[in-house]
Amino acid sequence: MAKPADPIIELRGIAKQFGGVQALRGVDIRLFPGEVQALVGENGAGKSTLVKILAGIHKPDAGVMKMGGELVELRSPTQAQALGIAVVYQEPMLFPDLNIAENIFMGRHPRDRFGRVNWKRMYREVDQLLESLDVALSSRTPVQGLSVAEQQMVEIAKALSLQARVLVLDEPTAALSSHEVEELFAIVKQLRERGVAILFVSHRLEEVFRIADRVTVFRDGTHIITAPISEINTEEMIKHMVGRELSRLFPKGEAEIGEVALEVRHLTRAGVFADVNFQLRRGEILGFAGLVGAGRTEVARVLFGIDRAEGGEIWLKGKKVRIRSPQEAMDYGIAYVPEDRHLQGLVMNFSIATNITLPILQKVSRLGLVDPRKEQKIAAEHSRQLSIRSTGVEQLVNALSGGNQQKVVLSKWLATNPSVLILDEPTRGIDVGAKAEVHRIISDLAARGLAIILISSELPEVLAMADQVLVLHEGRVTGAFARSEATQERVMFAATGQDR
């Protein structure tokens, strides 16, 4: 394909920091008219941040953006729209109670000379637009009831009606069936012919190879490579995505592997995950790898009694059990450190002590009354064990750092004296020092005979810590590796749904 010399949009040295996390470290990207450029990378590589910068939601801390050779600054989503940048998200953001035409012309309805909405013109234009995209929908169809794929079509039609020159598709195929993906690709190809520049963000590498002209790989907030699709293969792409050093991570120490603590057979929750099998022994760490939305947290939620499974069996210490509530899970000795500290893990304006004793109030109460001395004692003990840095157990947790908050959540669940511990993204959003400390704690716990499930989107973390790795892709187990077999490439292949 002949490429004109000038890019429609050019980003240079874009950097963005959130709190202590550097999401983007000065990335460059250029989009040319009539090209589909794929953007790939692991979780946390900075893809979403870049999308949000293009959408005008986030302002970069550093770097410049040029459109048609001129410097521009995006201060708001409205401005991004006015400059011809349109973003279609995985979950389309439409008004469900309005029809297609009203959604497309929201905020800019065509008017007649009396200032009234010119409905006729609006419906005519939208019908023409949908027809030009080969979408068999009427402009008067209410958005409510449309499939995700159809809603994406509406978003794309909206982008076209806004004369968008840059179209960003953020994981558009994640929620689509294979037939719907075909229809989406047909439209993408049509837009490419019209000269629109398309940035296609995706986890699915086989789709990238099918649709993209060029591919850009991000890793840890840096731009690794941009190459024509014909000059790169899957292996190379994955290597670029994961190529990271393992040395700075804390490896798991020696632990005696004991009897089977937890066994899961054919566990299925309709539409979420299916036929999950594994065996977990005392002293063992089982890593759950996979991309965001692969169904890892969902399996954990079922094991902890928050959601119910429709099929399959859960065996604890050789006995088949039914877990119907978190309370029951706790009674069986299962503890779950949830992925979202603020939303699920902690009561932010409770003290360290009251947070730690929340699941074990029974243990620190007599005749239904909380014994403050006992509470303080248990909390202080756990606080010391994990060396939580605070002014005392009476300190409110919202005054603690992320790492220390995470240690409070860990303490809270260790206080329940579990035999199976599920850790969901235990090091997300905490700094490097605290991370190493959490890794050491996890390793110690395994040495003490706990059976541990470690869910993590950081592949190196899983590989360094886990004795066996289970890889999920779209709710199915696509790989199971022993520690010695698990390599970044193999796990990434399974996680992206590649067959090998």
Partner: protein, 328 residues
């Protein structure tokens, strides 16, 4: 010193000041205000509200609300009256009335927890429903021929003191509720639910069961208030205590309980009860009409939602200034 200062700017401390001011105003504006009989009058006047404010405090702290309490009071009052007028013994009439209150609370709790409907809407619905039922049960009439032992309990005092019997009931309940809310496992769970329902659930707390329990408690207590109200006026009418739910919510919020749940204390609510009692009493002594009185309650309600939030913001600003001053 630092502790003293932080004590001074708590909402409860502010309420103590407000209480003293209202006593001062009452004493200077009316010669009758400080009389023993007036103390009896203002206390017995607020006791049904005070009693209902106790479970309401727990419910609002847990992040819900029950607006049907006054209607439950009315319904149980007419059930009590009807049974008595049909010749059933008093103990049975009271027992059935309390049971009706518990059933009413159960229905609220069921709709809120099992069907996951917002309690605000559910209890606005049952506010109308229970009041309507009260009219169905007794029509436009009233039952007013109650036995003297019952009515004496309604407007008599304990011994030669000026304390009404309802005051004793309130005092006992207050102690029980303070123990539950501030010292028990259940109380801790309530605060956890009000602050972060998800985290409470993830900690193994059965959020639905706790909430169901609260609504049942609220219904039962409203029925108890219905019995007291009926005895005090010696009258069971379907329009008994119309509009009381607003006053109940007002005293709870004025007491510093956060309308969004998770914060508040019964000490504050207890102080607020007496502030509102004195306010109503003083307005009455000054011959100010009922319309103006309800206007005052409405204003107070809005101010009480606003007040603790503003106070907290001021506190935050003060702490921040102190931190800045300390670091420089």
């Amino acid at each position: 010193m630092k502790r003293l200062r932080s004590l001074l700017i708590t909402w409860e401390a502010l309420l103590v000041v407000l209480l003293l001011i209202s006593i001062g105003v009452g004493a200077t504006r009316s010669p009758y205000f400080l009389s023993g009989f007036n103390f009896y009058a203002l206390t017995s006047n607020i006791m049904e509200i005070a009693i209902m404010a106790l479970p309401m405090t727990l419910i609002i702290i847990a992040g819900e609300i029950d607006l049907s309490v006054a209607s439950t009071l009315g319904l149980t009052s007419v059930v009590l009256g009807l049974l008595w007028s049909r010749g059933y013994p008093m103990w049975l009439a009271i027992g059935v009335a309390l049971l009706i209150g518990i059933v009413a609370g159960c229905l609220n709790g069921f709709l809120v927890t099992k069907l996951a409907l917002p309690s605000l809407v559910v209890t606005i619905g049952t506010l109308a429903l229970y009041r309507g039922l009260a009219y169905v049960v007794l029509g436009d009439q009233a039952v007013s021929s109650f036995p003297s032992a019952f009515t004496n309990f309604g407007f008599g005092t304990i011994g030669s003191s000026e304390i009404p019997w309802s005051g004793l009931i309130f005092a006992i309940l207050l102690i029980l509720f303070v123990v539950v809310l501030h010292f028990s496992r259940l109380g801790r769970q309530l605060y956890a639910i009000g602050n972060n329902k998800e985290a409470a659930r993830f900690s193994g707390i059965n959020v639905s069961r706790v909430k169901l329990l609260l609504f049942i408690l609220s219904g039962g207590i409203a029925a108890l208030a219905g019995v007291i109200f009926t005895a005090r006026f010696s009258s069971a009418r379907p329009d008994n205590a119309v509009g009381f739910e607003l006053v109940v919510v007002t005293v709870v919020l004025l007491g510093g309980v956060n309308i969004f749940g998770g914060r508040g204390s019964l000490l504050g609510v207890a102080l607020a009860i007496f502030i509102v009692a004195i306010l109503q009493n003083v307005l009455g002594l000054l011959n100010i009409s009922g319309d103006i009185q309800s206007l005052a309650i409405g204003l107070l309600l809005i101010l009480s939602v606003l007040g603790p939030n503003v106070a907290r913001r001021i506190q935050v600003v003060i702490t921040r200034r102190r931190l800045v001053a300390g670091s420089s």
